[in-house]
Each structure stands twice: as structure tokens, then as C-alpha cells.
Subunit: 204 residues, 2 copies
């Protein structure tokens, strides 16, 4: 293959490969934005490339298929949930229900984190491929780390039912917006939800 | 207005008004099917009319706007949940958590009821208008009847957090399909979820 070959496939063109890490980040930022705005179904690799100001071949080169770009974009979106609050897992086990509930509520109260999360939830509810990506991320990152600390039978099922309480709370409060839950004081919600999450995870 | 007036607006044409109740039911059935298949955003009154084999004017005549057809279709979809299982509410209060959990799981295990429910959930997650309809139905029918029986403070918030546990369970088991929850024995789930629902509703 020479420089004369059409630039659509294979390695990125030389001019762009000079600032590869920057281009990769730019694609990822663009992907998050485009997936957030349009949802999984209406997003194309071409649209992401356009938003990032790069050739679509470069998107394929770094990430592969649309599904793989989505997985990378979702992983970045969930990075705060997966990496920042180590305290959730590392603190005493008998307070993990409250730490987890506070964290999830906090992430959804903040519009900066809520918007991309809402896009991920919408995509996962609407599209089987997006649901598979969401599932893989939940299973391999979020739940595994909590499950690893639980010395109980059915640790995975317990963690998922705890997650179900939190997912349902978010759905009714922030997505469907049912009152009085949608406007309730977070502390009031925490007082009721944290013991449930704790019970799912650690009760005998 | 005479018979010569164009048939697009106003009262239904005479030929159709002979079997009005049948036409109304046919429109409602068509609406449920079309909303199920295409979701709220991609459904039009014209598309519903076509599927029902009637003039769009007849749809407007009976139901009004697309939002109102959707509300009627969703109400019909939820009718079993709202009317059939009176036993859920009427049995002893200390078993309401288990009856409610069994009922919700049962409805979602059955493909006949699962498909239209899934369509409603998808529409509500994606579209603000559909979410408002869903919200109104939850508030006025499903929750109010349970709340009326609870002699506790914050009865509405409690009922919504109980609903949140069930909504989250359905989301992770039937929509996102996270394992092991997606394949878990219903009895195993009931054993863990029913006490939580009961606790939300009636614990001191």
C-alpha cells in the first residue's frame, strides 16, 4: 500500500497520525455528544467523524464498528461511576448501601452527568446492541467490584436487585418524573432507599 | 353541514357511524399495535387510521390528538394491571408486597402482556409527552388505589419507592437483561423483592 491509495481504509493518513492521541480523544468526545443528542439508532460513524472533524476511516481505525465506538463512549461516561468513588467500595461494608445511594442520587442531580447518562439509558432501552454494551459494562465493572466484597450466597443476584432499586428510583424520579418522588428531598429518599440497598447486599 | 361536505373534519360519515362502537374498538386495537411496533415518536394518527381501516377524521373524532389516542391505548394496555388483580389490594395488607411482586413478575413473564408493556416503557423513556401520559396513569390509577389503603405518613412516596424496586427489577431482567437476574427463578426473586416492597409500603 502506498501514499497514493485512497484514504478510506487501513491506517490513518500521515498528516493526522502526527497528533493521534489528540484525534482519538476528539473522536471520543464527539461520539459522546452525538450519541447523547441523537441516541444510538440515529447515530452513524460518519456523523461522529464529521463532529470530530476527522475522516470516518480514522474512527474505524481506532474503535472499529459503531457498537465499539458506543462502548468506548459509554465507558468514558461511566468512568466517574467506575473509578472515582472508590470510597463506596472501600469504606466499611455496613455503610455501603448509603454510600451507593448517595452517589447514584448525586450523579443524577447534577445536570452535567445526568445528560449523558440519560442518553445511555435511552439508547439501552431502545436498542438491543446498545443494551448489550450497557449490560457488559455493568457486569464487568460496576457490579463485579461490589460483588467481590460480599461474602454472601447469590452475591451477584443481590447486587443486581440492589441496583434495580436504584435504577427504578432514577427512572421514576429523573426519567418519568413521577411526583412526589421527582421533587422529594434527597435526604428523605436516602433514608428509605439506603437500608433497602444495604439489605439486598448484606442481610443474612 | 350536509352530506356533500368533505369528510375530513367534524362528525363521522354516516356509513361508518352505523357501527360506531366496533370502529372505536378497532381504532384502539390498531393504536396499541402501531404504538407497540413503532413507538410514540414514529406513530401518526394517519398510520393508526390506516391500520384500523378508517378515515383519520374518525380517530380524531373519538380520541382527539395523538397524545390522547396514546393515553387511551396505554389505559387499555394497563387495564389488567388496574382492574383484574383487585386481590392485590383487597387481601390482607401484610401480604400486599408479595402479591404485588408476583403480579408484576407474572405480567412480564407472559409474552402477550410483555410486548405492549415494553412498547409503553420505551415510549415513556424516549418522549416527554408519552412520559406525561404514563405518569398520569400511574398517579391516578395504579398508585392511588394502593396509597388509599396505607395508613402511614408519606404514603405516596412509599408507594413510588416500592414501584421503583419493581420497575428497576423489570428493567434489569426484561429490558436490559442483566445476568443472573434475567434467568433467575422467579421464586428466588420474589423471596428477596417482596419483603422490600412490603417494607416500603408498611414498615413503621
Amino acid at each position: 500500500m502506498t501514499e497514493a491509495t485512497p484514504r478510506r481504509r487501513g491506517r490513518p493518513p500521515r498528516a493526522q497520525s502526527a497528533d493521534l492521541p489528540a484525534a482519538r480523544d476528539r473522536i471520543l468526545d464527539a461520539a459522546r455528544e452525538v450519541f447523547s443528542e441523537r441516541g444510538y439508532d440515529k447515530t452513524s460513524v460518519r456523523g461522529i467523524a464529521k463532529a470530530a472533524g476527522v475522516d470516518p476511516a480514522l474512527v474505524h481505525h481506532y474503535f472499529g464498528s459503531k457498537e465499539q465506538v458506543f462502548e468506548a463512549a459509554v465507558s468514558v461516561t461511566f468512568a466517574p461511576a467506575m473509578d472515582a468513588p472508590k470510597a463506596i467500595e472501600e469504606g466499611p461494608l455496613d455503610g455501603v448501601g448509603e454510600r451507593l445511594t448517595r452517589f447514584v442520587l448525586g450523579v443524577w442531580e447534577d445536570p452535567v452527568t445526568r445528560t449523558p447518562l440519560l442518553a445511555v439509558v435511552r439508547s439501552a432501552v431502545n436498542n438491543e446492541t446498545a443494551a448489550a454494551v450497557f449490560r457488559r459494562i455493568i457486569a464487568t465493572h460496576v457490579l463485579r467490584r461490589i460483588v467481590a466484597r460480599l461474602a454472601v450466597p447469590d452475591a451477584e443476584l443481590r447486587a443486581e436487585l440492589a441496583a434495580a432499586q436504584l435504577v427504578g428510583m432514577v427512572m421514576l424520579r429523573h426519567v418519568i418524573k413521577v411526583e412526589p418522588l421527582a421533587s422529594a428531598d434527597p435526604e428523605k429518599i436516602i433514608a428509605r432507599v439506603a437500608p433497602v440497598v444495604q439489605g439486598h447486599l448484606t442481610s443474612p
